[in-house]
Subunit: 162 residues, 4 copies
């Protein structure tokens, strides 16, 4: 079986990218977008989703650059019923539960601003996402000092108690 | 590692098929079925689920044809703790959240009435679902006219405001 | 404080009635309706919801009789941000989780086809739902025989294993 | 039984107020706050929650004004295990599901920027929230013209498709 690594296009890794599997594309592409509008005030985002018949990438959003990128990435993956969400001013922790609980969503493959590769298998019928590379692989376990430092960083980001 | 594409049997693609991963098969096979009974009035459905020890496909449902197909498809996939739900008069958007929120369910690989292939890897220990082909791959991005048409189709299906 | 029991109008108790508290009426009235469309294939339903400013009952749905009844009942309750859902061919177990997980919903006061009274308190500011009478009160504990019978009834309704 | 209407203090109704019931105050007060930090980027919010023994209002947050108001309002309600969330730059639709899904939360009584009164009953043991007045009561059903206007308003607020 042919396996291919599709690079997600994300200039300067400045956008958040979420890739998942759902169904009922003509409805869901718009409906995930509308659900995202409730998740974060003033969210800028786009949703692209692939449909097997006709063989089209559908796209909706409220930012032209994000729409272009989301559609391009969904088309590059090509596997049917896969969706790509791209956001500018919202993080995955702000929107993942909204997406997970959408009634047409099966699962989420990856959510990250790292460089991403989607591993796609190809059969005679079509294509399938079989895995995702979400940034570089790790090489060792953190030290106690590094654990302390990451917690300080989290606190600096505002995730702390008064 | 050996990879195989298992075709889901679904005559005329007239049934909806949902494939996922869960655990506690002897309980879960029946309990997902009972949960589905609450999701849609008069739902016709079957749930088949694989168990590693003993090496059996378990099946339950309220329609003999759906039970036969769900069990056959689960057995063809063979991977342990994988379940196959088949429904006749309910769509994935009617039941996916019920399944996702079931306490024994890990995730859902695919939900569709498209032709489906389940990509299965085989190791010395057993088998694993590594991806799903959910219909043919896409080839281009929709035009504005095609976007307008799909929204009209969604409205014709009843998803519109008065 | 003045307390009043508002009778829910429901001819022959043939419709299912759900009363709850939410917010952002101009958005939510329509959006709960659209969420219900995904819950049950071919659902007939209406959503009415009260808004404090302007002092209006908003209503949407896909059945004129249900819209009229839902709006009339919401207006009779009058408390702001209260919504009334009425369905013809769907039961609360088919739609309650969809409503509970809607991002604008606080809670659900009652869901039933029993005769219902909503207990409403009135202050100088406005009105508040303080409780619901959902059918007649009970008088004793079931016997073992009655427990067996109710389980048979549940099975006759289709909630049984093959 | 003594019933009292406790006015929520909210200068110019400029903050969003959410009142609910939970448990395990010493843990939950901080943990709802931390959950809110994941819901909206840069959220400004405070959580106050009442504890029966010792008889204290606990409070946490990242904005001194919101902490003062949330604590004052929780203390005025006084009922044990009641929590008050106040936010400045986030709406209830951005955070309600995060709160509803928190493992210590029972339910949410009200979520609004309207003038709010919490109806509190007092027994020998303590106090109970029995209802909420969430703005003024409604007086009539919207016209078709008013329905059209509210949908235009929702679209102007950004809840629309491209």
């Amino acid at each position: 079986m042919k396996l291919e690594a599709v690079k997600i296009e994300n200039p300067d890794n400045k956008y958040q990218v979420i890739v998942g599997q759902a169904n009922f594309t003509i409805f869901t592409c718009d409906d995930i977008f509308k659900a995202l509008l409730t998740a974060v005030p003033g969210i800028k985002c786009a949703v692209a989703m692939n449909e097997a018949a006709p063989k089209l990438t559908r796209v909706t959003g409220n930012d032209e650059k994000l729409k272009e990128l989301a559609a391009k990435n969904a088309l590059a993956i090509a596997a049917s019923h896969v969706f790509v969400v791209m956001t500018e001013n919202a993080f995955p922790i702000n929107v993942l539960n909204t997406i997970k609980l959408h009634p047409a969503v099966c699962n989420i493959y990856v959510a990250s601003a790292n460089p991403i590769e989607i591993i796609v298998a190809e059969t005679e019928l079509g294509k399938a996402v079989v895995g995702t590379v979400d940034g570089t692989a790790v090489t060792r376990i953190e030290s106690e000092e590094e654990k302390r430092e990451r917690r300080e960083t989290v606190a600096k980001l505002g995730y702390k108690l008064d």
